[in-house]
């Protein structure tokens, strides 16, 4: 029986050059990882790891290699490893990125690549930060559909134009790359942060939602949208390419037009 389940031969004649990867170039790269372990020392230090990687490898692959083959104590978060779950945001060469979406070959491999935890949130160990303040701000803007009408018997329909209005902000994966790149958030951690505003935007401009006014009132706080200084760090940091600063500006305008 099992012999019959073998993969059938290809019915398409492939030229020799197509299909099956050629040899992938490898190179040596040094990763300079920020280490912090409060059980050993209050001070954070840099550790250098020299690894041989391939042109198809990402920073996350290098971190895996370090953790699995060189130093098992290196700690970082990652879940899906494919840019969807938003677990492995970190500061790579001084910029917030997802380790799983950053190819090593796109970085300057002649110098050590610095890998640090994202800034502005308390570091727990190595590259792991306490995300709770970030999620608290997210919860405060009520990121869920609130509809005061009768519960419909079928799905709530929406026109393509109405859906398009907030399409950009639906892409957020809550990786905190934007909030932890914001200099205003770095100062005292009081600012709601770009991610919370983006997720409020997603519902404020949703035609099916009825609680836009409540969300605008929440973000009219002195730590709300008015603390945004439009430095565009968030837009630059977003691994999903969300126009974060523009979304914040739209929320500002919505508050203004509601009040005046």
């Amino acid at each position: 029986m099992s012999a019959e389940l073998a993969e059938p031969a290809s019915k398409i004649e492939l030229p020799a050059g197509v299909g099956g990867g050629g040899e992938i170039p490898s190179f040596d790269v040094t990763l300079r990882v920020r280490r912090y372990n409060p059980e050993v020392s209050e001070d954070a230090t840099w550790d250098d790891f020299k690894v041989t990687m391939y042109g198809t490898d990402r920073v996350l692959d290098a971190l895996h290699k370090i953790k699995w083959e060189m130093d098992g104590s290196v700690s970082f978060r990652r879940s899906c490893a494919h840019g969807v779950c938003g677990s492995d945001a970190m500061r790579i060469n001084g910029r917030n990125r997802l380790a799983c979406k950053t190819l090593l070959k796109d970085l300057d491999t002649s110098k050590p690549i610095t890998v640090e935890p994202i800034k502005g949130l308390p570091v727990e160990k190595d590259l792991i930060v306490d995300m709770e303040p970030f999620f608290q701000s997210f919860r405060e803007v009520m990121p869920f559909l609130i509809n005061r009408g009768h519960e419909p018997t079928k799905e709530r329909l929406q026109s393509a134009e109405d859906r398009e209005r907030f399409d950009d902000t639906t892409k957020c994966i809550l990786c905190a790359a934007c909030t932890s790149s914001c200099p205003v958030f770095w100062t005292d951690g009081q600012y709601f942060g770009p991610a919370a505003i983006v997720n409020a935007h997603r519902f404020i401009f949703d035609s099916r939602d009825d609680a836009g006014d409540m969300r605008l009132e929440i973000l009219n706080d002195k730590e709300g949208v008015w603390r945004c200084r439009t430095t565009f760090n968030c837009t630059e940091a977003c691994p999903r390419g969300i126009q974060v600063t523009q979304a914040i500006a739209e929320v500002k305008q919505a508050i203004l037009s509601r009040k005046i």
Binding site: P122, D130, E132, P133, Q136, P183, V184, T187, D188, G189, Q190, I218, N220, D221, K222, E223, G224, W226, R227, R229, K252, I255, L256, K259
Partner: protein, 154 residues
């Protein structure tokens, strides 16, 4: 040997990150709006000021005590300069206020920097307003004209 396992930290937020109560009112929104509006008006006022003082007529060579005295004899320029003084001072003060809010790390530092800022602003606005409205090109003290040389001898 016993080990203590800490209770789960999920849901616990460090005090530093906790927002203590929402601020009621729209002060931050109005401050934000004021910055934009005053900025636009200031562009007109300042470039008008520079043009009239430095480019029109004899230009920069005409500026002296008498030129300023002549301008402030006209209510139009009094109002122009008053608007420029107030808007520039409040615009600048609000800008520095946000910088202090963003960069001061301790609440005490923040408070003291803002006290100094507001005191300086008040002094300059009051003094400037006073000068614009009480300016006298021919001051007389005890019946004697003070030196200046721009006024006809009595």
């Amino acid at each position: 040997m016993t080990a203590t396992i800490q209770s789960p930290r999920s849901g616990k937020i460090q005090p530093k990150y906790r927002r203590n109560g929402g601020s009621k009112g729209n002060f931050e929104m109005l401050a934000w709006l004021f910055m934009r509006l005053s900025g636009v008006v200031l562009v007109v006022l300042i470039f008008g000021h520079l043009t009239v003082n430095l480019l029109v007529g004899e230009g920069i060579h005409a500026i002296n005590f008498g030129f300023v005295a002549g301008k402030w004899a006209d209510p139009f320029w009094q109002f122009w300069d008053l608007a420029m003084l107030w808007l520039a001072m409040l615009h600048g003060t609000n800008g520095v206020r946000t910088i202090i809010n963003d960069y001061a790390e301790k609440n005490a530092t923040r408070l003291w920097l803002k006290i100094v800022l507001y005191a300086a602003t008040t002094v300059i606005i009051v003094l400037g307003t006073l000068v614009i409205f009480t300016f006298n090109p021919c001051p007389v003290a005890n019946g004697v004209q003070l030196p200046g040389g721009f006024c006809p001898a009595p």
